[in-house]
């Protein structure tokens, strides 16, 4: 029996909604009781937060739709300027859609919040909505923070500014504390959509089992899937996608007749290594889903395909390679060791003084250090065996390495006189490059001495 109240008329609708949206009963109940009835006032602004794919948008949307409240749902990513945001809200309230007939122009032009409030009142009166609560839902509300500074506080107290019965619902992944402006604002009512537990996920994912297989069979599959992925990923969307693309592989033995549906252990042994490979390929988008499906159809071993990151090798000119190696060496080696590594007659060195001191962290942990151009060239000349003249070509190659984002310019103050650079390539990449020119780079790296 539902505990719902004054909205007797809506009781069956809510029940229907609960069937559609499982594991969100308390949230639906709270939200519904706060929204109240159409002609009641609702709280001026409600802030809903929760992780990705916890049903924030879906629940709000379905609830407003089933209760037949007048509402507008706007995504703040789409509306990146305040003007677009205002115009879209007005358009949707008016029921105006952009089409070739009206040359994709909006119903009303609106530039500032001030105009928006005036026009909003007009539209609401025109549509005869002033005796019921109008809901404005702003999805991905964290983007409001980067827009005009008056927008977020303005929407928070929109009911007061417009003097209309309106409620603004903000949906976000980020907590409210990160939104609050420095001078304060009207505090919204904060609701939390908790994450789904493992049992919830199991229940939700088991619902879309394909026809032709028993529900239990699919539930076993989901159980195995969650066992592999649950520690890494709790995103329902991602899990659903992974479940969909790996299912053909799972039911393959059954279709071939090697195993029965009840043969759980065998099926598990078949699918588990496959799923583990998925973490490194499809989950990271190294291999696209369509490629993965094709691989499965052809019966090839997953992971044979080279991923996106395997194609990182770049063919460079000879001097560019050496320049890049020199840049890497000067980024990751401290300057005081240059003499030891690169000058031929470095005189007598006390062995003890050069022994690697116990440093807390190695350079490969701290990241690349900036170096001046002179040091790069000095190391370059010492590692290239032949004589190189410092022609314009060499310098333009440095500039083009910057353009390729293999090295970056640090500090934009000086372009010509003594610029500083940083090397941004990884160790794997640079060792591959060094191998092509027969240069043993590890011997010259301070960290690996």
């Amino acid at each position: 029996m539902s505990k719902l109240d004054h909205g007797e008329y809506s009781e069956d609708r809510i029940l229907l909604l609960k069937e559609k949206l499982i594991c969100r009963d308390p949230q639906i109940l709270t939200l519904q009781s706060i929204l109240g009835e159409p002609h009641h006032y609702s709280y001026p602004s409600i802030f809903v937060y929760g992780h990705t794919a916890t049903g924030k948008t879906y629940v709000t949307q379905m609830l407003l739709k089933t209760l037949k409240f007048p509402h507008v749902i706007v995504n703040c990513v789409e509306c990146f300027s305040s003007r677009m945001l205002f115009e879209q809200i007005l358009n949707e309230l008016q029921g105006h859609s952009l089409s070739p007939k009206n040359e994709y122009s909006s119903y009303l032009q609106c530039n500032t919040l001030n105009e928006f409030v005036l026009l909003y009142k007009q539209v609401v009166h025109k549509q005869n909505l002033h005796n019921q609560t109008v809901y404005i839902v702003l999805d991905k509300a964290e983007h409001l923070r980067e827009m005009d500074s008056n927008l977020l506080p303005g929407f928070l107290r929109f009911q007061e500014l417009a003097e209309e019965n309106a409620t603004v619902i903000f949906l976000s992944e980020i907590v409210w504390e990160k939104f609050r402006p420095s001078t304060g604002c009207f505090e919204p009512l904060i609701l939390h959509f908790p994450d789904y537990s493992k049992a919830d996920l199991q229940k939700i994912l088991s619902r879309d089992h394909p026809p032709g297989f028993s529900a239990d069979f699919y539930a076993t599959y989901i159980n195995i899937l969650l066992g592999v992925f649950y520690t890494v990923c709790r995103d329902l969307k991602e899990l659903r996608h992974l479940a969909a693309i790996n299912f053909p592989k799972f039911c393959e033995p059954v279709q071939k007749g090697d195993a029965k549906e009840e043969d759980t252990r065998r099926l598990w042994r078949n699918i588990e290594p496959h799923l583990k490979k998925t973490i490194e390929t499809v989950y990271l988008r190294e291999v696209s889903s369509s490629q993965w499906e094709r691989l499965q159809q052809e019966g090839k071993e997953g992971g044979q395909l080279k991923g996106l990151s395997a194609h990182a090798h770049v063919e460079l000119p000879f001097y560019s390679k050496f320049l890049l190696i020199a840049a890497y060496l000067s980024s990751y080696n401290p300057a005081r060791t240059d003499k030891r590594f690169f000058s031929k007659h470095h005189g007598k060195i006390k062995k003890t003084s050069f022994l690697k001191k116990h440093e807390k962290t190695s350079n490969h942990l701290l990241g690349p250090k900036p170096f001046p151009l002179d040091r790069l060239l000095a190391i370059f000349y010492s590692i290239v065996d032949s004589r190189v003249t410092p022609t314009a070509n060499i310098f333009s190659q440095i500039a083009s390495l910057v353009a390729l984002q293999l090295i970056t310019h640090v500090g934009h103050d000086d372009q010509l006189d003594g610029p500083k650079y940083k090397c941004t390539t990884s160790l794997d990449f640079i060792t591959a490059i060094a191998r092509t020119v027969n240069f043993d780079i590890v011997r010259y790296l301070y960290d690996f001495l």
Binding site: M1, K3, L4, D5, H6, T30, S33, I34, G36, E37, H40, Y41, S42, Y43, P44, Y49, H51, T54, T112, L113, N114, L118, Q122, D148, N150, P153, G154, E160, L161, I174, V175, E177, K178, T183, G184, C185, F186, E187, L189, I190, H192, P194, D195, K198, T231, V232, C233, R234, I279, E280, Y283, L284, S309, L365, L366, G367, T408, V410, T424, S426
Partner: protein
């Protein structure tokens, strides 16, 4: 069976509850201009001042200063309501309401003033003319008048501190200048929550301001807070169903004497004294009132208070995956080793690897890109913050970040985490120093 029976004889109950909801919701959400609580002196002060302008034709300027949710707008509204009951004032006084959030620059504000005063260059809701024309026109219109035969104008500037950020403070200067010289009688009322608002004004603007300030502070004790709580929940005498209202009010009175309710209210009183947080609490409580539960019980208030006091960061931490939690613990360790110095992904990964090598089973043995993805998710949730914005120019792995969580928060979250692996828990508890 029982459900149907209950429904048939509670038809009027349902209506009563709907009605109660309507009245109370309007009170909590819409902030009707009620009688201000404990602000009699300020009320009288403002009333006298505005009456001087409306009746005698004196020009005045005043600032109402107080923290958010203290009742500045309510005070002004209730004064204006009383003032408007006088017939002479109602016919005579013109009102212009401006808000710093809406009128973000002087141009918009000027158009709004012209529109609200319905001057000659207004057609419908549109105002014509450039900024200079509008300003000249408005000033001329204001200057032409004099004390005896022109209607006084009341300017209400909500979020006054935002008007002080306009270029050259032209609007403020002109309004206060008119208020000082013998022209049309105007009253400028500013509402702000900043105590240092006068420091924002330019010297010439400041010298024209009368320096009259009305401070609203929440100067009441816990006893009055409970009284206020009671007052806010009580149904008015005009309620259609007398019996229901009586029962409801009796219940509210009982509620105020309850020990648990008192404890909850004390907790809220200690954290904040403003009306709005109380309203929010009441709104959450009210949403528990249904046909099957027609009265407010102390447990409803407790549930509402729990919902209100929820720690949002703990909620976010609760939803993380085990891998992300491990990274947070690694960052916590780095924080304690390097005393709050920023760190990068490589260092976190290194710390995480150390942990994995120590544990016997390879359950958490993930490849580096998978860990990086988890790290990026933490950044997306703003649990870690990059130190400098130059994200394009440095490698993702070497970007310096800072953890925005306290170690006690992390430990609390670990306690509540569902099915937290024991080795992770032990690792979190072990500090290296």
């Amino acid at each position: 069976m029982s459900k149907r029976k209950c429904k048939s004889n509670s038809l009027s109950l349902g209506e009563c509850i709907a009605k109660a909801h309507m009245i109370l919701r309007a009170r909590f959400c819409h902030h009707l201009p009620g009688k201000p609580f404990g602000l009699e002196a300020q009320y009288k002060n403002l009333m006298d001042l505005l009456k001087q302008t409306a009746v005698q034709g004196e020009s005045n300027s005043v600032l109402i200063v107080g923290p958010r949710g203290v009742g500045k707008t309510m005070l002004l509204k209730s004064v204006l309501n009383e003032l408007m009951e006088m017939k002479y004032v109602k016919e005579n006084l013109l009102q212009v309401h401006l808000n710093g959030l809406l009128q973000t620059d002087d141009k918009v504000a000027l158009k709004e003033i012209t529109r609200q005063l319905q001057l000659e260059n207004v057609v419908g809701d549109k105002v014509f003319g450039s900024f200079a024309e509008n300003l000249a026109f408005l000033l001329e219109a204001l200057k032409k008048g004099n004390r005896s035969n022109s209607r006084p104008v009341l300017f209400v500037l909500d979020e006054f501190d935002l008007f002080a950020h306009h270029k050259n403070q032209t609007l403020l200067y002109n309004l206060l200048d008119v208020a000082q010289s013998a022209q049309t009688p105007v009253a400028v009322v500013g509402l702000t929550c900043r105590l240092d608002v006068l420091e924002l004004l330019e010297k010439r603007v400041k010298s024209r301001f009368s320096h009259r300030q009305i401070h609203l502070l929440n100067a009441f004790g816990f006893k009055q807070y409970v009284e206020m709580f009671q007052q806010q929940l009580i149904l008015p005498k005009e309620f259609p169903d007398g019996r229901f209202a009586q029962e409801w009010n009796q219940n509210i009175q009982c509620l105020c004497k309850d020990k648990m309710v008192e404890d909850i209210l004390q907790k809220h009183f200690n954290s904040s004294k403003d009306f709005r947080s109380l309203h929010m609490l009441l709104m959450l409580t009210l949403s528990h009132v249904t046909v099957s539960n027609p009265n407010i019980r102390p447990t409803d208030l407790l549930a509402a208070s729990r919902q209100y006091m929820m720690d949002s960061k703990a909620n976010v931490l609760h939803g993380l995956s085990v891998l992300e939690l491990c990274l947070i613990i690694a960052m916590k360790h780095l924080n304690s080793i390097y005393e709050g110095e920023p760190f990068n992904f490589e260092m976190v990964y290194n710390e995480f690897q150390n942990f994995i090598q120590r544990t016997t089973h390879s359950m958490h043995n993930f490849k580096k890109p998978v860990v990086l993805k988890a790290f990026e998710h933490l950044q997306q949730l703003e649990l870690i913050k990059p130190m400098d914005g130059a994200s394009l120019r440095t490698h993702k792995e070497y970007q310096l970040v800072k953890l925005l969580l306290d170690s006690s928060q992390i430990m609390d979250a670990l306690q509540k985490y569902p099915q937290c692996p024991t080795d992770v828990q032990l690792w979190a508890a072990s500090s290296l120093d």
